[in-house]
Amino acid sequence: MRKKNVLHPFAGLALLVGMMSCSEEDRYATSVVKGIRMYIDDEEYAINTNSSNKPLFIYKADGEYVANYSSLYRFQLPDGSYKIIATTQGDSIPYPENLNSSVIRQDPGAKQSYVISAPVDYASPFDSPLELRMYTRTGVLRLKATDRKSDRSYSTVRAVVTTPVSGFKLADASFVQEQTEVVRDKATSTGGVNYTDDLVLFETDAVGKEVSVRIDYLDKTNSVIRSKEMAGTFPVLPDDTLQIAFELNNEDEPVIQDYVVSIASEGWAEEDIYPDAPVRLPEGYTYVTAEEDLSAVFDRLLNDESVDAVKLYLEAGGRYELGRKTDFAKSVYIVGAQPLSNQEMATVEMGNMSMNTGSATMDAIHFENLKIVTTDDDFFKLKNQEFHVGEISLKNCEIRDLGCCMWYQETNAARQQTVGSFVIEGCRFINLNIGKSSLIGPSTKQDAPISNIVFRNSTFHAQTLSKPLVSGLSAMTGPLSITIEGCTFVTLAEGSTFFDLSPKNTDSFDLIVRNNLFSGVGSGTAFSLRGVTSSAFSGNYYTNGYGLDWGADGEAPAETALSMDELFRNAAEGDMTITDTSSEVYVNEVGDPYWRK
């Protein structure tokens, strides 16, 4: 008979009860991680509520892997100390490796970016919120070709980037400073034109080092046919794109040196464009850009029998060379485009000119809206040619440092050289050096009439005025009219005579002088006159302290309140800007209006 031991079930039960009393509290104590705050590059971050990503990686204090959790839910951990990291690239974390040996290597394809926090120590009872600050550990190196000319000798561009950072240690959020190469091939069907490639690399800024770049060119057989190093080194900036714009196909660059580096976070690349004003080409004119040869165009039109006159329209702000043009027989019009407020006039560098029409008459020689730089002393240098011109005119032009004369004339027969009108309007002659001959000095040996001379709204500023601005009228016959109005005359030479208007043989001499301003140093003479048959003098002034001998009958000029140095901004340098807008010169609109600004 077997005896049953009644204690056995009790022992089992006790054992069972004892085991069951391995409850939560007795088996392990846990606490709940409740408050989780995450940041990316110091900006608050939260994953989508329907996201399956689990950014939290939990390790024990000794680095042993514990778990990978979402941040959307509270979770429990056994009481203890932990190290927790967060990342948006959960699949890149090499778990369940120990944290202390976990390294994320540079993606050999240079496509993967990483946003990872440093490990955060977190211990139970987890009363304080869990704060995880993720930072972007990678940046983009963008290679961008700027070529417009293709080179089809290669079909693949290989970028080889040598970087001093090969990985990222999770344990202390530091970079593995071991040099490594990243290679990226990109096919090109355009011979390199528009090649662009982005390489995602660990940032180098944190370690204070930079990457270097080499470009290999591969042909269709995948053989390297050429290589070019890129001079210099470049940082890889975290969460940013550093673009290197360069030419792939520059044959003159065995080493790529001419490149432009820009940083994407700095926004748009900018280019300023100043559109040119539309060209309002006057009818019959030929537009000549600053890049063209003005002299050649002039000659072409001069020699073209189908063209009646040489009419040239120049670009505002352009610089041109005309050279000497002598013995021409066609009318000439050279006009610069009206400059805009932010533009200069066109500049023409020219030598002297002469005409030769024979018995024919050309209509005109006209210059307008030009800065004229003379390479010879005389503007018109005439020596025994026969010519007859209706009108010679300069309008809104500026001539500085003229060597001598506008009109230097030699003729060996009466009426061999005749000009209907010589008009200077809206012009400024600065630093005249009138010594051997007058500014306009017709021949005194032969009758070479300029029947009408007009100086209007212009400035004549002379360093030397040993001869008058206009003289030599003695041999002239026929009618003569001279109009001098709205001009400013300044001489820096003592004892100057501005005008010697003394025809002996003219049929008539009509003279108008009004609203002019005369100024100078010491003393001088405005007019030496003879043979005037009618005259009108009004509204003329001279600056205070200038000893001006007017030399003419009719209304005498008035003296300004201010002296030359007080009235003008800088007469010595040729700046006659009126400094006092309450002066009589300003109020009564006297002299060249150009200086009343």
């Binding site: 993967q112 355009t190 995602v200 932010n342």
Partner: protein
């Protein structure tokens, strides 16, 4: 004895199950484990992640949604809009296939998306939106990559008309109150597969005093792609029409040549003195007098 052993074993099992349950519960308080996809079916979830740079730019530009398209052999198999969110998108796709994808943000419209080779992205009507387009990225949906990184790049350049007149002169002039600025040959259509502009048109935008008469438009790149036999696209110019009380007061004399050939992420600042008479069709006096008379309808 056997009963005792049985009891211990059962207890142990109960304990381990309980503890296991406890462990599961621990895990289960978080999210259920990520499904690696339906191995038994033909499709699975593929991760696509937008770059941080894209997300930052979207935040600045106020872009909230992106459109994602996935193709298999040129045919669309997936097309949907997503909120930008944290930049991580899960897409149900057939596994083990060679696929191609691209994404677009902020477009006016996208047409012909049924075929990758025909898909075209268009600007909005007034070319006012910055459009972002990714490269066409090929991938195999076999989870060999943790997630497919996709960077949407700004695919437009920008032209800005910036008056450079004296601010006081501009504020005090009275011969116009509105300027219609026409930018010619703006790149308005972009063929994704070819990565180039396939359509241009003139775009006119209004500029008023409040904005300092500044006007701008975006354009897809119109610069040369360098392809053999390529015909260069027409360059962009600018014309201005000045209005006062809706009556035309003046306009620029023809197109002002800016010779702009757009590059992505490049801003072309057209610096123009809009009061400068040299640019205008009529002298300013005529503009002023034209502006003095405007037809006003009134009830008799």
């Amino acid at each position: 004895m056997r009963n005792w052993m049985t009891l211990c074993a059962a207890s142990l099992l109960a304990f381990s199950v309980a503890c296991t349950d406890k462990a599961d519960e621990l895990e289960g308080m978080a999210e259920s484990p990520y499904s690696s996809g339906s191995v038994s079916g033909q499709s699975g979830l593929v991760g696509i992640s937008l770059s941080r740079a894209s997300l930052d730019e979207f935040a600045e530009s106020g872009v909230k949604d992106i459109s994602l398209f996935v193709y298999m052999a040129d045919s669309l198999i997936y097309g949907r809009s997503y909120p930008v969110g944290d930049g991580n998108i899960q897409v149900e796709l057939p596994l083990g296939e060679n696929l191609q994808t691209f994404a677009v943000a902020n477009a006016g419209r996208i047409e012909r998306t049924d075929s990758l080779s025909k898909a075209v992205v268009y600007l909005d009507e007034l070319a006012q939106n910055e459009v972002y387009v990714s490269d066409v990225v090929g991938f195999t949906s076999d989870k060999s990559q943790p997630s497919l990184p996709l960077e949407l790049k700004r695919m437009v350049g920008r032209a800005v008309l910036q008056p450079i007149d004296d601010a006081e002169d501009l504020a005090s002039q009275t011969w116009f109150d509105r300027v219609e600025v026409t930018f010619t040959n703006i790149g308005t259509a972009y063929k994704v597969a070819e990565g180039k502009c396939v359509g241009q048109q003139d775009v006119t935008v209004s500029a008023r005093k409040e904005s300092g008469y500044v006007a701008s438009v975006y354009s897809f790149p119109t610069e040369s792609t360098g392809e053999e036999g390529e015909t260069a696209l027409p360059l962009t110019s600018v014309t201005l029409a000045y209005y006062l009380n809706n009556a035309l007061a003046n306009r620029t004399l023809g197109e002002l040549k800016t010779n702009i050939s757009f590059s992505a992420s490049k801003s072309y600042n057209v610096l123009l003195p809009i009061l400068e008479e040299g640019y205008l069709d009529k002298p300013l006096e005529k503009s002023r007098s034209a502006g003095l008379f405007s037809v006003v309808e009134s009830e008799l």
